[in-house]
Symmetry: C2
Subunit: 137 residues, 2 copies
């Protein structure tokens, strides 16, 4: 087991929403958040926005295809929390470390995510019921 | 509307769990987290632990009374995400700011939370479906 890594940081919390524009229009002025990134992620069939205030980042995700995983998540659980993301120095190395310890990975290797960062997801079964993303930022 | 506040940071994400000891024993070695605080919060009828790796803090919360709000949450939604917490310079001032903008507050004024920090909760209806805590750390 390695020693605690001072490089780990909370990167963002992501919410799934029905309507991305409506959610941005509601949440940004209420919380004083500014729109930093807005992109369509074709592979995930979602559109996503990153809102920010200081070091608080809130990602909003809306499905672009009613058959996508995020659309099914929204249908079964309603709008709300989707995942938490930790910023780590090296996503590939962290995946190896977690895998050696028995974590159930969704992504076996890093892939491009919002804003072009390398990311990978770990299954909620290994996160105390919480879907967890690793981000190389 | 005020300008973005560089002092805002993601402070922690909290998971609700059935069994606090079992959750600590599972998650701490898997993620390389260290136990930083463990307390019983009588007013909320929960026991809570703060785990940490670098600047990533994961709070685990388990009910101590089957009639508590957290027990009902666990019964209806199962273990998993409970709330996200933002660290702000002044919780009372942030509550005023949010209230002026129409946010629905759970705590009208700051109260002591885990580790003795002043905290206050904002209703999920004002957080895009996500229960949000403000922490003065």
């Amino acid at each position: 087991m390695s020693t605690p890594d001072p490089g780990w940081r909370l990167h963002h919390v992501a919410h799934v929403v029905d309507d991305l524009d409506a959610a941005i229009d509601e949440l940004a002025p209420l919380w004083g958040l500014e729109l930093e990134i807005r992109e369509t992620l074709d592979a995930q069939r979602v559109e996503a926005a990153m809102l920010r205030r200081g070091d608080v980042r809130v990602e909003l995700i809306a499905p672009t295809d009613p058959e996508s995983g995020v659309a099914r998540f929204l249908e079964s659980r309603g709008p709300g929390f989707h995942h938490v993301a930790y910023s780590v120095a090296d996503v590939a190395e962290t995946l190896s470390e977690l895998s050696e310890r028995g974590a159930e990975l969704i992504d076996e290797r890093p892939r491009p995510g919002l804003g072009g960062h390398l990311v990978a997801f770990v299954h909620p079964r290994s996160g105390g019921g919480v879907l967890t993303e690793l981000v190389e930022d």
